[in-house]
Symmetry: D2
Subunit: 340 residues, 4 copies
């Protein structure tokens, strides 16, 4: 950490900063040459948490504080150079092959999930996703089928061999979900639910961690670090759109984070253009863009089509849209030296 | 809900939208006069959840969807006209008196919390706040004293009579925390942790709900609705800064939401200028501004002063800064017809 | 436009809204079926400007106002179905071929610009870009070579045949710049500089309009409409990153707007991954992603390499990096049925 | 400036950074003690512009660059300690008295502007504001009365003695506007229109500079510096809301910037709650909050009331609402040791 003092800071202000840092068991080095005094902190920076960082920033005579070291370590390429490849029942995430997780938003009934599973399998998907426990903005909304939904997913897995990704919302459900699912997904709203992250750090299931819609890259990697610190090294990152002023799409899909994370971390990162745009017409082009800039996988919602309730034809179109998407992606994957 | 069709939408597109809406048990009314077709949805709109809302928006021929009704009801002034006043051991939140919750970020030891409690009581604070279980971005950071911290807070309460506000992070802790605390605080990162909100809906302790740093006003009120739907009507809202591009402060304190919520909801709303700015020099002016625009209370961190480690004098200054703040606020409160 | 009234709106409130709309020469239609009153506005909506829109929103009893019609017309696909192709000295923008505009940030001297022009031409660029008049955050910064810079660009054009794109900042410079340049660029900070847009609407040079870093899609298209309204139909849109809380990149490149604008408008749209990310290592992957999701062109800064001052080797690397980028993009272009 | 190198940066990378900095005429100092190498830049930092700053950040082996010195000087308290007070025909901006600029969005006709001028004068406003040249998102919208509008404002000034604030959009209009107006206003969209700022730097009229809705505090102060660099020291800053995801208000009024600028700069700063919220019911509470946190003045739109077209009664209410606002503000001003 570097502490930049105000031009008008007094000696006493600088001394107070130095004393505070030393009281945390760290050393300091003064930089006298610059126009204003800069105090560099030396030693095990992890002793400075977020609170001390902002507390020192607030001290008299301090202009700004800057992290020189990263607020994470295990997720970093400095710590582990080789790309992490996570093996889920034979499906390798982070390797040459781009992995597609597809399926409905919620598991609704056996017919639905079976048909989806068979068709996406045929189109080339690697895993099936579907919600059994749903985060809903209203307690009156459909909360998912619960364990019944997990059982249906399991049946679909037995039929097709596709491993299962499903969302976990409650730290108390790790055991139950682990019986059925192969990957546990943490939703955007829970990215900094430390109670949940702590439990996931203790289990041995791979975790699909979605970026909080408010999270900087450092916070996103920090949440992954939290899980890894608990002992679970199998974390798959997922960009799913951030919250901005822009209103033509539901979220702003921040694709640049994919190559940025590739520079910074050894963890695999996938993209979710379905939630990232919230508009069906944008899913295909943004899926292509995701693969073009280096995503290790995609999360595609082929959930119960809105038009499905009325006409079978529409549903078929939707699954055939997924099939077309997989065809189109093959060309892009090849163009970047990968396969799908 | 209103569905605005594209200018080039075909009859078939409109019919598909109508069928979808009717399949949800709702009626429709067509607006033919406008340049483009508009489909108004009539009936119990709560049958349309967030997913259906965006699903219909994504349908062929649809330009946009707009909620006409609010995604909440119980929190609304349409539902209950009179301002809600929450009584916490005699402290009334939402009434004429502006309530100040003060205290350290974390409870550290008996001496600290006792001194703080006595001094803030003397300065006119109404409740003591202090963390026993802390949300930390790293599992290596100090996680709080846990139950030991709760006991110390309770001692401070016995000494001073100040009721206790403390943060809850784990749905499994409701019972434990309820033994000691008078108000349970939900942190910004947990605003949409539905597992936690559900448990809080079932308990009878007042809840201090902080705005998610990514949350719109509707989502903020929606989270309060979630708790109220469970049966707990004692929700205190708290603006604590949102995440924007602006970088001179830690967050952007969105004070306009205070009068906006006063227009919209009967729930009390307080302001947290400490987290909202993250800069000590901004706390006093923004505390004044909060009271001037109608806040029912303030949450002020008089947490372990950064300079405290080195000199007792500095700590005293900090508590005297709080004392001065209370003095200054009296004038502002009076100017808006309230007291503190 | 649709005006949504509050649930508690009184008849008098509704009548005041209706009278106001009628006084603007428009008709209204009431929607009585919904839970709350909705007033639809019928007629030539362009009579309602931005001010009236927000003024009506502020009226007593009004909950919200929503534009049903678009705040633009000429740029819209509803107005002109076929994709616009702009011909700049034989270079066609908006057609099958993806157009690459490359060159340095500023024109510095003859050697620099000549070398750049020759090398990018060889690598397959279609146009040369370079600043002669520079927008600088400080008046003390280098303001560009001015007309001397334009002359150097013109020499480079004569040598290589590459048409010229350069930035215009001052409405008084249209004539001067038009003597030398083939496309006039409007920078992000000037996207709503109406004085400038008005002059550009009157000239016959194609305009490269960069998205304001604060602009919604409707505002972006609205600025293009402003130019077209003046009579100049040759507008090329350019996504260059928006301002968000995310801090790992200089701006957040909002690529989803490319397919969204393709849905909405007939104008060509290109991407600027150089400014859009501000990090050299992200330029290549985001250039690929831009082409994958449908961009009609790219703006790539191969400006005076930072390392150039010290070693010629570094500069060569930079131009060879551009050459490699062009090679890589060929594969992506082919994968989406285009060429480069 | 400080350059933070990557942990894995090679000696050659560090040397390249040092050479680049030295080639700009600056010295460097290495900080060897920290976990990663830090290069501090010493000397006249203004030689590093925005481009070099980001160019160095993009160099191989560089993790991050941080400005230690400010990107401005003349506006800073380091440069001039005493608060600047700007005298406009006897009205002192920046002193003990809070200055209120009131008036309609656009000047429409003599009756309107005369009535407004008289009434706001009576209520205690210090200056009259009104648009003669209007920035409009569509060229078809009412563009203002032009010079005729200026003449009407001048008549109102002669009648009431209230000095005039009006917006300038075109650098060519400085002379014309200066004949009539006492303060020239730069709108949010033109905050970084350097052509305009340059002309204003050369004139001797006070400038009311509105914050760009995308601008950081440093950019805002940088724009003021641009004008001051030209020789015009009479700059009044104005917070008017920034663009965020929050959608209940038209913009997010970032009031914390008022005390933050008071810490940083000697220039006066006022608040515009009208544009800052875009909702009439929020104007009064946010005007109070602005004064409470230290604003030197307010800009209040008492423009042609929306309801005015229909009923004289409504208009009267609007001017009486302004009168009530002035009354209420007196109490707040007194509570913070000022007057209005």
């Amino acid at each position: 950490m570097i502490v930049i003092m105000k031009a008008k800071a007094e000696e006493e202000d600088v001394n107070r900063v130095i004393d505070t840092i030393q009281s945390l068991g760290l050393r300091t080095q003064l930089n006298l040459g610059a126009e204003r005094m800069v105090v560099a902190v030396i030693g095990d920076i992890s002793k400075i948490g977020e609170d001390n960082f902002f507390r020192i920033r607030a001290m008299k005579g301090v202009e700004n504080t800057v992290f020189v070291s990263k607020p994470y370590k295990l997720v970093s390429k400095d710590f582990k150079k080789e790309q992490t490849i996570i093996d889920v029942e034979g499906v390798k995430i982070g390797g040459k092959k781009i992995v597609v997780f597809a399926g409905p938003c919620s598991v609704e009934n056996r017919e639905q999930i079976m048909e989806v599973a068979e068709k996406i399998k045929k189109s080339g998907a690697s895993m099936i996703r579907g919600g059994a426990f749903k985060p809903r903005t209203s307690p009156k909304d459909f909360q998912g089928l619960g364990e019944e939904g997990l059982k249906l997913l399991y049946e679909a897995k037995e039929e097709t061999g596709l491993p299962i990704v499903t969302e976990i919302m409650d730290a108390r459900d790790v055991e139950l979900l682990s019986e059925y699912a192969d990957v546990l997904q943490v939703g955007t709203r829970n990215m900094q639910n430390y109670t949940l992250l702590k439990e996931l750090g203790k289990c041995d299931k791979p975790v699909l961690l979605k970026r909080g819609m408010w999270a900087t890259m450092a916070e996103f990697l920090g949440a992954a670090e939290y899980i890894m610190n608990g002992g679970n090294e199998k974390v798959i990152l997922c960009e799913r759109g951030i919250r901005t002023f822009s209103d033509y799409s539901r979220n702003t899909l921040d694709l640049s984070i994919i190559p940025a994370i590739k520079d910074e971390s050894h963890l695999p990162i996938i993209s979710d253009p379905s939630h990232g745009t919230g508009r069906r017409s944008l899913v295909l082009p943004m899926a292509k863009a995701s693969v073009a800039c280096g995503a290790d996988g995609l999360l595609i919602e082929t959930h119960p089509d809105p038009d499905r309730a009325i006409s079978d034809a529409d549903q078929t179109i939707s699954l055939s849209a997924f099939s077309k998407l997989m065809e189109d992606l093959k060309q892009i994957a090849k163009a970047v030296g990968r396969e799908i």
